[in-house]
C-alpha cells in the first residue's frame, strides 16, 4: 500500500534571483530546478535526466555553477541565484550568448542554458581559460548535437571578447 508520508513543511525562502530579491513559500523538499521552473516561471533552466547526470539544469549560486536538480531551494536562502534569463541586460546579449548564437554553439538548444551558465562560472573564476580548462569546466554538461567543437569555439570567442 502506498504511503504518502508526512506532508512536507513549508518555509519562506528569500533569495536574490537574477539580481532581484524575492520571497516565496517553498516546501522543504522542493528542488531548486522546480522552484525556478514552476514557482518563478523561469523555464530556461532544463531537466534532461533523472538527477545530476547531464548538466542541463546548471545555474549559478553565488557565482558557482551547480546542478539545480540536486540542490534544495531552501539551501539557497539569502544567496544569489542566476539563470540563463538573467544574463542579457540593457538590450544586449551577454558575450557568451552572442558567441553561442554566432558560432552555432547551440543546435537543438536544450543543453545550451546549462552549458552557458557553466561557461559563465568558468569565466568568472578564470577570465582567460585554455582549451583544456574549457573542456574540463564543461565535462559535466552533455550535448548530443555539436560534438562540443562549436561549444568550445564559442566559449573561447566569448573569453576573447570584451566583457
Amino acid at each position: 500500500m502506498f504511503d504518502p508520508g508526512p506532508i512536507p513543511g513549508k518555509r519562506l525562502l528569500r533569495i536574490r534571483l537574477n539580481g532581484r530579491w524575492r520571497e516565496d513559500a517553498v516546501a522543504d523538499d522542493q528542488l531548486l530546478v522546480d522552484y525556478l521552473r514552476d514557482t518563478a516561471g523561469l523555464t530556461g533552466t532544463k531537466t534532461g535526466c533523472d538527477g545530476g547526470e547531464c548538466g542541463a539544469c546548471t545555474v549559478l549560486v553565488d557565482d558557482e555553477p551547480i546542478p539545480s536538480c540536486l540542490t534544495l531551494a531552501a539551501r539557497c536562502e539569502g544567496r544569489s541565484v542566476e539563470t540563463i534569463e538573467g544574463l542579457a541586460a540593457g538590450g544586449r546579449l551577454h558575450r557568451l550568448q552572442q558567441a553561442f548564437h554566432e558560432k552555432l554553439g547551440a543546435q537543438c538548444g536544450f543543453c545550451t542554458p546549462g552549458m552557458i551558465m557553466a561557461a559563465e562560472g568558468l569565466l568568472r573564476r578564470q577570465p582567460d581559460p585554455s582549451e583544456a580548462e574549457i573542456r574540463a569546466a564543461l565535462a559535466g554538461n552533455l550535448c548530443r548535437c555539436t560534438g562540443y567543437v562549436k561549444i568550445v569555439e564559442s566559449v573561447r570567442a566569448a573569453a576573447a571578447a570584451d566583457a
Partner: protein, 773 residues
Amino acid sequence: MPTLAGTRDGVPLIDGIDKVTGRARYTADLDHRGAFVGRMLRSPCSHGQITRLDVERARQLPGVVAVLTGEDFRVPYGVLPIAMNEYPLARGKVRYRGEPVAAVAAIDAETAERALSLIELDVRELPAYYEAAEARAADAVRIHDDKPGNLEREVHHTFGDVAAGFAAADLVREELIDCAEINHAQIEPHAALAEFDPFTNRLTMQSVSQVTFYLHLMLARCLEMDESRIRVIKPFVGGGFGARVEVLNFELVTAMLARAAGGKVAMELSREETFITHRARPQTRIRLKLGLGRDGRLRACECEVVQRGGAYAGYGVITILYAGSLLHGLYDLPAVKYDGYRVYTNTPPCGAMRGHGSVDTRHAFEVLLDRMARELGLDPFEVRRRNLLHAPTRTLNELAIMSYGLAECLDRVESASGWKARRGRLPHGKGLGMACSHYVSGAAKPIHWTGEPHAVVNVKVDWDGSVTAFTGAADIGQGSSTMVAIAVAETLGLPIEQVRVIAADSATTPKDNGAYSSRITFMVGNAAIDAARRLRGMLTEAAARRLDCDPADVECAGGRFHVTGATDRGITFEEAVKAALVDQGTLTVKGTFTCPPEAQGGKHRGGAVGSTMGFSYAAQVVEVSVDEDTGQVTVDRVWVALDCGFAINPLAVRGQIEGAVWMGMGQALMEETRYLNGMPAHASFLEYRMPTSLDSPPIDAQIVESIDPNGPFGAKEASEGALASFAPALVAAIADAVGVDLDELPATPDRILDALVARRRRQRLDAVAGGGR
C-alpha cells in the same frame, strides 16, 4: 553556381537567440496551468499474458481524473502501414519489460504516482528472448502469433553474378562483425501536452515530434477521431536523431488521457522511461564476404545481416531493407547478394537512428575492405579510388546517382591528415585509419503514399512588405527553418532578416513529411525556392506595370526590381508588393517538390528503400592513441570531408558534420545498451556513457560541393552521411596503432584488452609452432 551573397560563411540560426536566452519553449516549458499530470504503469516482466489488470482502486482515488488500459485502445498503430502491430497500452500480452500497460491522469504528480501503485497487475510469464539467436530457435514461443520463427521480415536480394565475381577475385575473405545496440540519447526527455476541448470535440497536441504529420495521422487513428478536429504543434524540440520520427506510445496515451479527462494533460517521461521508449539502432550481426582483385577492384559482395529488432514492428522492415540497399551507391559493385533477417525479441522496440539501417553494414564493409587492402599491400585510399562511381549512373539495385563527390572527399582528407607522410610512421600505440560512407537526401518514396507532392511550402506577402514562409518541416535543431529562410530570401533578393518562417503547426502550415531521412533540405528547400520564384514572377509583373516595361526586362536583386541594364529605373521590393496587391490583396503562393518516378528505385520488392534524389558522400581519417596496459582508446583528431552538393548554410553544414562524426565516435568507442533479463542496465546518462567534452577531439570538417543537378542551389543532405565512416576508420586506426583487428563495437577497453591478449596468445603459439619446425 549560386552565390548566396552574404551567407558564404553561413548564418546563425534564425531561432538561435531564443535558444541562447532561454526564451525557447520546449514541450515541458509550455503553459501547464490547469493541466492534469499523466503517468504510465509499465510491465515488470519481459513476456507474458496479462491475466488480471484491476484499475478500480486507482479510479476511486480522490484527485484521479482518468485511468486507461489497453482496452481503451481498439486500433493498433505503427509507422509503416504494412506493419501496425502495437497498441499504446499493452492489450492481452506484454512483450518487453517497461512496456506501458495502464495510464492515469491526476491533479498532481504525487496523486498520479499513488494511483499507479493502486493498480493491480498479474502476468503469467512466458519464455522471453533477449538475443536474436534465442528468438529464432526452432522451439521458441512466438512473440507475435502471425510471425513464425519470430522473424519480422527476411530479405533476399541478388544483383549481378556473385559466384562469377568471387571466382574472378584474387582474394576472398569473410568476417563476422558485431555492433552493439545504441540509443539516440537526445538531451531533452520525451514529453507531450494534450488539450481536449469537450465542448467542441477538438484536440490540440504539442509534442517532441520530428514528424507532426505521422503524429496527426496516428492520433486520428487511435483516438478514432476526425483528422480535421486535431491540431498538432511542434514546440522547440531538444534533438531527435530518429527517436521521434515514429509516433510514440506516450503521445497517444497523453491525448487519450486528455480526452478522458475532458481537459489538458501533461506527460513528462523520466530519462529512464525515455531510454525504454527506445526506437534506436538495433544490435546487429553482419557476416560479410568480399572478393577483391589484385588491382584493388571489388568483384563481389555477399552480406548477411541479423538485427535484434525488439518487441514490435516499428520501422523494422525499412531498417533491414536499408542495411542491404545501401551496400550499393558508395562504390562500383559488380555483384551483390544480400540476406537480411529482422528478428522479434523481448526488448524495447528498435527504430530509425541517424544513418538509418546503413551504419552497421557500412562499418563491416569498410573494415573488411581495409583488411583485404592491407593483405594485398594496397593503400586504403587507393583501394577506394579504384572502385569509384561516375555520375550520373544507376547502381545494380536501381539507385540513381546524380552527383558524386567522393573522389574529392578522399583527396581532401588524405592531404589534410598528412596521410602519405604519416601513415605507418607514427610511434607504436598511435595510428591512422580511414573509411568512407554515404547517405540519402530524403527517401524518394514516402511511407504514406498519397500521390501528393513530396513537399509543399507557402509564402505569403502582405501590405507591410513582410514575407512569411509557412512550412510543416520540423526544425529539431538541424536548422531547417533557417534553410527555408535562406532559400526564400535568396530567390527574392532580400536579406534573410526580412523573411519570417512559421513551421510545424497543422492549423497554419501545409502538411509536411517531417524530419527524417535527411529529406528537408532537398525537398522542402526545392519547394521553398519554387514558391519564392512564383512570388517573384508576380512581383516582377507588377513592377513591370509600374515601370512600364516588359516583365522579361525586369531584374530582381538587392531588395529592388529594376529594368535590366538601368539600375536607376527601378522600384523597391515594398513598392513592388504594393503594386502587386492592387486588385489582389494579400498574396499567398504555393511551391511544391516531387521526386520523379525514375528516382524511386527498382521494381523488386523493397526496391524503393534507399532510393533518393541525391546521395551525400564522406571520407574521414581518424588518429588514435591506444594504451596497451588499460585498453583505453583516445581519439586525438579527425579529418572529414563531406560532399553535400552545395552548402546553403556552411556554418550549419559544419555543425552537422561535426555532430555526425562525434555521434559515430560515441557508437564506435563506448555507447551500448545492455539488458539484464530484459531490464535495461543502461537507462541513465551515467550508465549509457557517451563522450563528454573531455573525450571529444578536434574535428577538421571540410565541405565538398559537387553541385547536384536537382538539389536546391545544388544542395544535398549534410547531417547523416559522415556518421558511418567513423567507426571503421577508428577500427583501422587501432589496427595501425597496436596491430589488433577488432570485430566488435564499441571499442571499449575490455574488448581492446581481449583482442590484445588473443593476439599475444596467437603469437606465442606461432612461436612454438615455428620453433618445432
